[in-house]
């Protein structure tokens, strides 16, 4: 029996339950190069901010059409969120969070965040949780969650061994939603103990940004396809 064990193990591994797929009901090719994260604007929940690791931030309408954008400055923006009418954009290479006025994209201040891992394996996603008055940033590989207070001081770093890698994060319907670009999947996660409640596979190459619109639809931006996708999450 023992000699058949490797074969049985192989068959078991190949028969692991498949992650259900989501199908987009909408997609639009963006005019933004290398889009890497997305969030809703404060002033208009039908508009989105999309950052590019080519160094620009754009505001788009609900279909992904750019209505205004910053000038190219060489920054490597990989994550974005909003708080109190301010934009918080993360330059992954420089380990810097730029805080800008939403109304005119004017830079108010920058905060340096020390993280010594690989240059392109730094902060990939950022959210602000108003109820808990804290920011959560995700590190791609090894997957890690960094919690920060409102002054962007790090309060905890948690290695997430249950995730292969992470490319973005958002908060919706009392759950954290984590995105993995290499596994091209989205995971609904319990915010208290970080256990995975549910996961779906996305037919998207290199998904880098995630958020939900005001109607509860899942928005995903693909870096390699430079495309905005919209999905409906099925009811459990």
């Amino acid at each position: 029996m023992q000699k058949y064990f490797p074969i049985i193990l192989l068959l078991l591994m190949c028969s692991v339950k498949k992650t259900p797929n989501l199908k987009p009901y909408f997609h639009h090719e963006l005019s933004i190069d290398e889009p890497s994260d997305i969030c809703l604007t404060s002033a208009n929940p039908g508009h989105y901010y999309i950052v590019s690791n080519r160094g620009s931030i754009a505001e788009t309408d609900s279909n992904g059409k750019v209505v205004r954008h910053t000038q190219w400055d060489g920054s490597d923006y990989e994550a974005i969120c909003t708080k109190d009418n301010m934009i918080y954009a993360v330059d992954e290479s420089m380990r810097r969070i730029d805080i800008m006025d939403e109304s005119n994209f004017k830079l108010k201040k920058s905060v340096y965040l020390n993280y010594t891992g690989a240059r392109n394996k730094g902060i990939e996603g950022l959210i602000y949780l108003p109820d808990q008055k804290k920011f959560i940033a995700v590190i791609e590989k090894p997957a890690m969650l960094i919690e920060m207070n409102e002054q962007l001081q790090v309060t905890s770093q948690t290695l997430m061994k249950q995730f292969f890698e992470l490319s973005s994060i958002t908060y919706h319907d009392h759950f954290l939603w984590l995105l993995g670009d290499e596994n091209h999947e989205v995971m609904k996660v319990n915010p208290d103990d970080y256990t995975i409640v549910q996961r779906w596979s996305l037919p998207v190459v290199n998904p880098e940004g995630i958020c939900f619109d005001a109607s509860g639809n899942l928005l995903i931006v693909s870096d390699d396809m430079a495309t905005l996708f919209k999905f409906r999450i099925p009811n459990p």
């Binding site: 420089m94 920058s110 010594t116 090894p142 290499e182 091209h184 998207v204 390699d224 430079a226």
Partner: protein, 400 residues
């Protein structure tokens, strides 16, 4: 069997030390990344009937192929720089400075990125032949195909290159000018005619296509890329074996004094863990009028001889098994004029054909990979004898 399970289990225990492998230092406006890799292996070359190296087993040994240290710098505003050294090549370079495959400096360049036209200057890898452009780390093999080994065309040079992408990186265009002396420009080798080499490459794909041979992302959508490249060089002396040096008169070094036009085409594909690559590269070697080689070429009623070849490979990556398997067929012809004819009069040429099998086990998420590589040399059709010993390599690569 229990020992194997215990070994795999121990490797998984190593996972926590795989975490902070590379280091980036930043002050908010400038950053510096330190990284590198080590590749070592045991090599075994079984000898064959008629082997010119019969009785000499010095190639059956442990060896260190790479001990690379890389520094990448980023300056706010779009300036980048990179310096990479392979410490494993320092002593071979000191003892044989004219071996273009053992130059320890592998990257030393500055790049200015901007929205209009990116510029790279310094010493860098040339955008010719994807299997040459491919770094060793994302390749499943422990040795490159014959034609892309750096012996037949230079893989790096000093010069200036401009590049730009269009349509969200689906189209990439490169063009530049370099010394034309290849890696040996760092050894002080230069040509008396002082003419540079020109090069260009274009790629088109249905989504951004990364420099990877394995589909380790298990892509849910197929992506494919087509490419073409060209180089033009004019020298009185070319470095390397791809000059026709030994083609027409063995033992009588014949230096190509003339022009070399190199051109290639390639295709690549990946989807759901499967990936495949095809590539062909050819070089037309034109002898300068009045040179000894030109006189020989006149006998063949041609102005040039051609060398080159092609490769095709298929790969499969399985994330659950943390493994990849790959097979590659490559064929190189050092000259379309040299070689013999079959009994029915078909020109056979000198075919250096190899089938290579590879297996990779990714012991740690990104850092440690165990590699098996077997290169099976096929017999030359005219003499029914292998052109070189088979080569088995069992090794590791560790990135930090």
């Amino acid at each position: 069997m229990k020992k194997i399970y215990a070994f795999i289990y121990m490797l998984t225990l190593l996972a926590p030390i795989a975490t902070f492998a590379q280091f980036t230092f930043s002050n908010g406006n400038n950053s510096l990344e330190l990284s590198g890799y080590v590749i070592g292996f045991y090599q075994y070359r079984p000898q064959f009937t008629g082997d010119p190296n019969a009785g000499n087993y010095k190639k059956n040994t442990f060896d260190l192929d790479d001990a690379r240290f890389n520094m990448k710098g980023f300056v706010k505003g779009g300036l980048k720089f990179e310096i990479e050294i392979n410490f494993a090549d320092i002593i071979p370079f000191a003892t044989t400075p004219t071996d273009q495959t053992a130059i320890p400096l592998t990257e030393a360049n500055v790049v200015y990125m901007n929205p209009y036209l990116n510029v790279k200057a310094g010493y860098f890898k040339l955008p010719f032949s994807p299997s040459s452009m491919m770094d060793k780390i994302p390749s499943p093999y422990l040795a490159r195909a014959t034609m892309a080994s750096g012996t037949y065309f230079s893989r790096r040079d000093a010069g200036v290159m401009v590049f730009k992408d269009f349509w969200h990186q689906r189209i990439n265009i490169y063009a530049g000018i370099c010394s034309g002396d290849g890696e040996l420009i760092l050894a002080g080798v230069n040509d008396k005619n002082g003419k540079p080499e020109y090069f260009g490459r274009i790629e088109i794909s249905n989504a951004y296509y990364r420099q990877e041979e394995l589909d380790r992302r298990n892509l849910s959508r197929p992506i494919a890329r087509l490419g073409a490249d060209i180089r033009y060089n004019e020298k009185t002396t070319f470095s390397g074996d791809g000059t026709g040096v030994n083609v027409f008169s063995t033992g009588n070094d014949m230096i190509l004094d003339g022009r070399k036009l190199s051109y290639g085409a390639d295709a690549a594909f990946m989807w759901h863990g499967f990936s495949a690559q095809f590539e062909m590269d050819w070089m037309n070697n034109y002898a300068a009028p009045g040179s000894p080689l030109a006189e020989q070429l006149n006998h063949y009623n041609t102005k040039f001889f051609k060398d080159g070849g092609f490769l095709v490979q298929a790969n499969y990556y399985n994330k659950l098994l943390r493994s990849a398997v790959a097979v590659r067929y490559d064929e190189f012809n050092p000259s379309d004029l040299a070689g013999s004819y079959s009994q029915n009069g078909t020109f056979l040429g000198e075919q250096q054909r190899t089938v290579t099998f590879a297996y990779n086990f990714f012991a740690l998420p990104t850092n440690l990979t165990l590699k098996f590589h077997y290169a099976l040399r096929l017999k030359q059709p005219d003499i029914a004898q292998k052109w070189k010993e088979d080569e088995m390599r069992i090794g590791f690569q560790y990135t930090f």
